[in-house]
Structure formats: C-alpha cells, structure tokens
Symmetry: C2
C-alpha cells in the first residue's frame, strides 16, 4: 500500500502542474507540509517529489525545496504522413528482399565495435524490471514445485499461468478462457505459428510500413512475401490502403499489425480504426494477426484495447509477451489462436513442444498480484520521462528540418532526418564511435525509410546518453550539403 501512496501524492501535483494551477517557478509545499497534508511518511513524500523530478516536472534546489519547471516543449514537427497516393502505389510483393542479409550485416557490424551507448534495443534497461521480485517468485516456485524440472510439461502451458493471462486480457477488452490461450517461446514464436497456420510459402502477408525488421525476417524465413501497407504515424495502418490491396492482390493470407505503440512509429490505432480493420479482414476472410506487446505501456495508465476485443468470428490471432513489460530475460509469450487454434496447437507441438513450466509458475505468481500493477505504473512513468528527455535532446541538437514522432507510451522514437540523409551512413559512423542506433532502412523491404532512425529510450536518461545524442546530431548534420 505504502508503495502506491507516493503515486497518489505525485498524481495530485502532476495534475496541478499540467493544468497550470501550479505555474512554472512556483515552489511545491515543503516535504514536511506534504507529510502533514497527505498524511504520509517522510519517505513517501520524498518519493513523490523525486518521481516528479524524474518526469522533468520539478527541479530540486539545494536548501530551498522543489520548484515547478517550465514545460520543455519539443519543437520538432511530427514525422511525415504517407503520401496521399501511397495506397495506390503499394508495390508488388517481393519474394525475398534480403532483409536477412541486411540484418546479418547490421549484427556483424555491431559485433565489430564495442558499444558505449546502445540506442537500438527495443526493451527497457534491466533496472527497469523487478529483478528481486521475479527472483523471489522463481525461488518459491522451485521450492514448492521441484518436480516440474523432471516431470512432463503441461500441453498448452501451465494452467495457473493461463488463468492469470485470461484475467489480465480483460483489461484489453478481450475475454478468452484459459483453454483458448497457448503459451509460446516469446511473441516471436507466436507470430511464426500464426503465419504458418494461415499461409503457405509463396503467399502474401500485409504489414505496416515501416514495420519491425524482426517481422520481415519471420516472413522471409517462412518463404512468404511481404506487402507493405502505408501506415500513418498518428493513426496506424491505413485501412483504406489495405482495402485497396485486398482488391488488387489475390494471395494476401494475413495482415500483421502492432496496434498499440507500433514499432517503430510508436502510433496507436484509434479504437474506431481497430474496429474497421477487424471488420475488413473478417469480410475478406483474411486472418488478422496482432502483436500487442506494448499495449500495457500507455503513459496515462488507461489500458489500450487489442484488436481481438472486436473479434466475433475468431478471425483475429492475438499474440503477446512479457519481453517489454516484465522480463526481457524470460522468453515467455502466448497467443489466442481463434479459429486456427487446433492447427496452431499442432504446429506448436511439432515445432518445439510445450514450454517449460517453471518460468510460467513464477510469473503467474507475480502477475496474479497487485505487484505487477505497481510495477507497470513505475515502468510507464519511467519510460515517459526517458522518452521526453530524449526527445528534448533531439529537438535541441538535431539539424533544422528534423522531424520526430511523440508517442504516448512505449519506449521508441522515430526520427526523420532532413535532406534524406542516409541512415546506413549515419549508423556506420555512429557505430565506430560506440553509438548504436537502428537505421531506418531495416524497417522496410521496399527501401522506403533510409532517411529515418529508430532511437530507443529504454535506459535511464543520463549525461552519457545526452552526449551520444549530441554526437549523433553532429553526424546527421555533417552529411547534409
């Protein structure tokens, strides 16, 4: 309980600052006053102030107290919307566009230079996750169930874990039974199984453009072809463009979307768009596969809905994992297979058998308690602060004409460089100086986003990161004529 009190106190002053009730430069009540006013302990009052300081709302002045900061505005324009005609110009799907070569090249280069500042990882720093609590849950699981190490594993995943997942899915508007959930080796395996269940080699998969290169790799490795659908940095995949694609391409067997805090754009599809997308796919009997791994990371603590919430016919395959939200070191994912459930179960069995039980039992304990909610609240605050600091540094240092999205959750920023500066060049130069970013050319098979960079805000903002971003800005600027 104590743990949540500081959030309540911080929330009180956050609202006051945001609404202008407390103006920039004003002094917050003293810590003693806070203790008295909110009936909290010294440590709770301090924690509330520090969390607002971390968010960039307050600054501490030695021996004077906490003062409201001037809101730091990001002055950059939002990244470009796809061109109006883009939908009609969707290129023919290419059978093999060399994404593996591009990624292998990226990995090989990364291995060649020691990394000082890694801005390429799409998950939080280890300290952002509840290492101690997870360790203790795992220790308890081992002591209580030592037999799981030597006994056959339950066929679809640990029943207790699936029950917790079913309960948690309700927050995203879904209502699966535990039996409809299949535990997988991370979301990556879930996406593999989904695509294997609905498509055959040679078939076409419609994806967002830009999209996560890991998805392009899955599609390529399964012998499928990619069709990139124009995607708005504010509203997600264009449902109109998809409809047009359905009319012109016969072999589209699935659409894959990241509906919430898309990778790399960070956009959230509005609910109405999600509903339209679900209806469109259902009408065309094309499977809709959603990868909803960031949905719980919304700044305002309001859970975002999954596409699956609108699914009435089992046409949506929902995939999730805890890689971003809870435990990057435990590869635990799951899926709700809809009308392909039986085929997906069979494929999972043939591909890798059911998952080990231990990790599931440990996570079920943690996710079944309010500790998970408290962790998510902390993680969201932290990611928001880190995103804002990073965005400010980009705004301050990058050359004029740079554009930037400003997601309302997650950990990714998408930067559009001016003058169509090449991301490969920027990547190569930065890498040699120990700075790692994800170059835009990895996010499309059609070579569309070479003038963009994805910058991750998973690690606590620091002087080192600020220096790296300053240097990155110089590298970008140096290549402009």
């Amino acid at each position: 309980m104590e743990d949540l009190l500081y959030l309540r106190v911080a929330g009180h002053y956050r609202r006051a600052i945001r609404s202008g009730v407390l103006a920039p430069g004003e002094r917050l009540p003293s810590v003693r006053a806070l203790m008295r006013l909110h009936q909290v302990s010294l440590s709770t009052a301090l924690q509330a102030c520090r969390s607002l300081e971390d968010e960039g709302l307050l600054e501490a002045r030695p021996r004077s107290g906490y003062f409201v900061l001037k809101p730091r505005r990001v002055a950059l324009q939002a990244v470009s919307e796809p061109e109006p005609g883009a939908a009609a110009m969707a290129p023919d799907p290419a059978p093999y566009s060399g994404i593996h070569d591009r990624v292998s090249d990226f990995v090989a280069k990364c291995e060649r230079y020691p990394v000082v500042t890694n801005l390429a990882l799409a998950f939080g720093a280890p300290e952002a996750y509840p290492q101690e609590a997870l360790k203790n849950a795992a220790l308890r699981a081992l002591r209580r169930h030592p037999e799981v190490l030597v006994s056959p594993v339950p066929p679809q995943g640990d029943p207790g874990f699936r029950a917790v997942l079913a309960r948690r899915a309700m927050a995203a508007g879904m209502s699966p039974t535990a039996d409809e959930i299949l535990v997988t080796h991370g979301c990556t395996e879930a996406i593999n199984l989904a695509l294997r269940a609905v498509a055959q080699p040679g078939d076409v998969i419609a994806v967002e453009s830009p999209t996560y290169f890991g998805l392009l790799q899955v599609i390529e490795s399964l012998g499928l072809r990619t069709l990139e659908i124009p995607t708005s940095p504010s509203r997600g995949m264009s449902v109109e463009a998809l409809e047009l694609a359905f009319q012109t391409h016969a072999r589209i067997k699935a659409v894959v979307v990241v509906p919430n805090f898309q990778n790399p754009l960070g956009c959230v599809m509005p609910d109405a768009e999600k509903a339209r997308l679900v209806a469109l796919c259902e009408g065309h009997q094309v499977a809709l596969v959603e990868d909803d791994i960031y949905g719980a990371l919304s700044d305002d603590d309001l859970p975002l809905k999954s596409c699956k919430a609108w699914d009435r016919s089992g046409n949506v395959i929902h995939c999730g994992s805890l890689h971003k939200t809870l435990a990057p070191g435990m590869r635990v994912g799951w899926m709700i297979g809809g009308r392909w459930q039986a085929r997906i179960r069979m494929l999972k069995h043939a591909q890798s058998r059911p998952n080990d039980a231990l990790a599931q039992i440990a996570i079920a304990e943690f996710m079944g308690s309010s500790a998970y909610d408290r962790h998510l609240v902390r993680l969201r605050r932290q990611l928001k602060a880190q995103r804002e600091r990073t965005a400010e540094a980009i705004a301050a240092h990058f050359p004029a004409g740079t554009r930037l999205n400003m997601p309302t959750g997650g950990m990714l920023l998408w930067v559009e460089m001016p003058g169509r500066r090449s991301s490969s060049e920027v990547f190569n130069t930065a890498l040699q100086e120990g700075i790692r970013v994800a170059p835009g050319m990895m996010f499309s098979n059609a070579g569309r986003f070479d003038h963009c960079l994805r910058i991750s805000c998973g690690a606590p903002f620091s002087e080192r990161i600020e220096t790296a971003l300053t240097r990155l800005a110089q590298i970008v600027a140096a290549g402009l004529d």
Copy 2:
C-alpha cells in the same frame, strides 16, 4: 566417492553371477563379510546388494541373506528383419500421410480415459532424475545471477553451458568448439531448424522405418515428404536401401537417423555402418541429420559414438537434448549445424529467438560435475533392470509367436504381435482399461507396423505394471483367431 563404491562392489558380484562363478541358489557373502572384504561401510554393502536385487540378479530371503536368482531368460524371438526386397519396394514419398490426424486421434482418445498404467511415454519416471540436485543448482543459479531474468539473452545460448556441452560431446567422438553449438528448445526444435535449413516444402526426407511419430509430424508440418527406408532391428537404417533410394529419388534433401537406441526399435547402428552412412550422404551431398538423445543410456557404460564423429565436411547436423537423460521438465536441446550453421542461427533467431539463460546455467553446473556421471550410471542400471523385468513379463504372458527386440540401452521395447494383430484395436481396448501403449501404426506413414506395439520401460517395474502387461497380453491373445 562413497556414492560410486557400491557400484564397484555390485559390479564385482554381477560379473561373478553372469560368468557362472556364483551359481543360482548360492548365497552371497553376508553383509558383514562384504564390509570386511571390500572395506566399505554398512550402507555401501547394503546398497550394492539392493542394486543387484533391483536388477533381478539376487533375492533377499528374510534372516538368511542374499541369494543368486536363476537367470530369467527371455525366450522370445527377435523382431523381424525387413524383407530382403524391401529396399527396392520403398514406396513413393507421400506429400501428406495423415500422421497429424492419427496423432490427434491418439491424443483425443487418451484424454477420454483416465490412465492407470502409462506404457507410452518415451522418458523415465520423474523419480529416475535428480530432482533435488537440479533444484539446488537452479536455486544457486538464481541467487548468483538474478539479472538473467531481466537482461537480454546470449545469442547462441549461455557460453558456460555450451562449453560444458562441447566437453561432453568428446565422449561421443565429436570435437565441436562451444561456438559451433547452438542451444534450442529441445531436440524437436533442433530437428525443425535442421530440416528448414536444408530443405524446401515439397522436398523429400529419408527416415528410418519404423520411426518416431514426432519426426513424421515435423516433416508433415513443414510441407516436406517422407521416404521410409527399411531399418534393421539389429543394425539400424539399411545403408544399401538408402543408396538405392538416392539413385531413384531426385528430391531427397536430408536423411534423419536416431543412430543410438533408435525409437522405437532400440537398435544401435554399428560404428562401421555409421561411417558408411556418413560417407554415403557426403558423397551425394545430402544432409545427414542425427537425433542422438539416447546415446548416453548404454547398459555397459561405454559411450556410443555419434555419426558426427565421422563427419569431415560439415555434412552432418547433430541434434541432442537432456529430455531423456537428465530433465524431462526442462526443454533444453542443442545442435551442431555443420556447414549450415549460419543459416540455422538465422532461422533460430527468426523462429523463437535465443533460449532463456537460467535453465542453461543451472544445468551447466550439474553437467560440469561428476554428479552427472553418477546420475547416468544409476539411470542406466535402473533402465536396464526395468527393461529386463518388462521383457520377462512379456515373454511369460504374451501369446506364442510374439517377437520382441532386446535393446542394450534406453527405455523402449518393440513388440511384434503374432497373426498380424491390429495395434489400433489393442490400443483402443487397453485404453478403456486404463492401460496406455503406443500403437505401431503411428510409427510409419506407409501403414507398415500396425501389428507392433511400443512399450516404454521408463517407470520402476511394479506389480501394477506386471498386471497391466498380463492384461495387455490377454487383449492381444483375444483377437487372435
């Protein structure tokens, strides 16, 4: 050390009994005499006697001591060799032979009836594995490395674990570096990756006949086709028949064998055959995939060689796991990808990302110590005793004309029923009485082994098992005209 002493004492008397130096009915030296003769403690002397009793070599008579038992001979004929012409008669590969339907049907039926005696599992009972030691290793791993739960996973598997695997591989005649080993989700994922690396949908995979139905499922689920090669219950896959197949089938892209204690036949390929097989595949540039998960389970404690031991060109893909030998509840496998290593790494990354580190760290500690060797010695003794008891019960109760293989390791028996009795019928009737066996018709796509049963000896022999085998024998006999 104490732990191994009893094995030395037991070995001394086992040899004496086997060679006839100690005849049936003779009395073993008293426990006190054993203590004096071998300079061991009371508990070691007792442990030695009990382990010989478990093997069926001694019986304890109250207040008299231990007496040599009459050797119980299995009087059954060995199972049939493939017909001489079988190689030439190898059928055309079928694109889809319905193995999934057959397995689904098997699973659905199994779920319908409560199981009393399960003779269908191809791994040991939980008590055959070192639950406590594994639990403690996992507890230590968690305490020492709590960061693994929240940190990125190492790309090919935990380096310490791969180093231990590389060292242990030497016993099977291989000499991989740790870097050549890729950790996978069990051997099943390894086989999947191997076949995906070397073949495209529509290609043909040559397998043993009979073979493990799980392999047939993998092949079917990947859109590949199966070609069954006649396989001798004494010498494994017929290299002559395979050579003929290479001459007549153009699209064979891989050969999959279980060279040691094949599932279901239990046969071991003689070293000379392994060498010929490796050379033949290399000569035809067809990948040889070996699934060597039982090789460490040889009765005589002499490690068996893997086919990979003869590989000079990287044409052999070696796959292994700990599912049978150490921890059925921890799905940890590995592979040595040979000349396909880079492609396999890429496919593993795209299919499920690298494995979690925790289980690997825990297992590395156990496998790196002599505790693993001691465990294997115990497990082999136990499996041998269980196999012998089961074989005796089959010999005593099954109808005349029944044939049986007698493997020198592992945990599987293969029974050929007289009069071509249908395994599906026997399976169905037995199931309704709570007895589960694996029907022979699941071990071939070509419908060849419906008159066989696979009987697992993974659990300690008991009165319940004896009763189940007696009843099974009655069911078999009842269907004979």
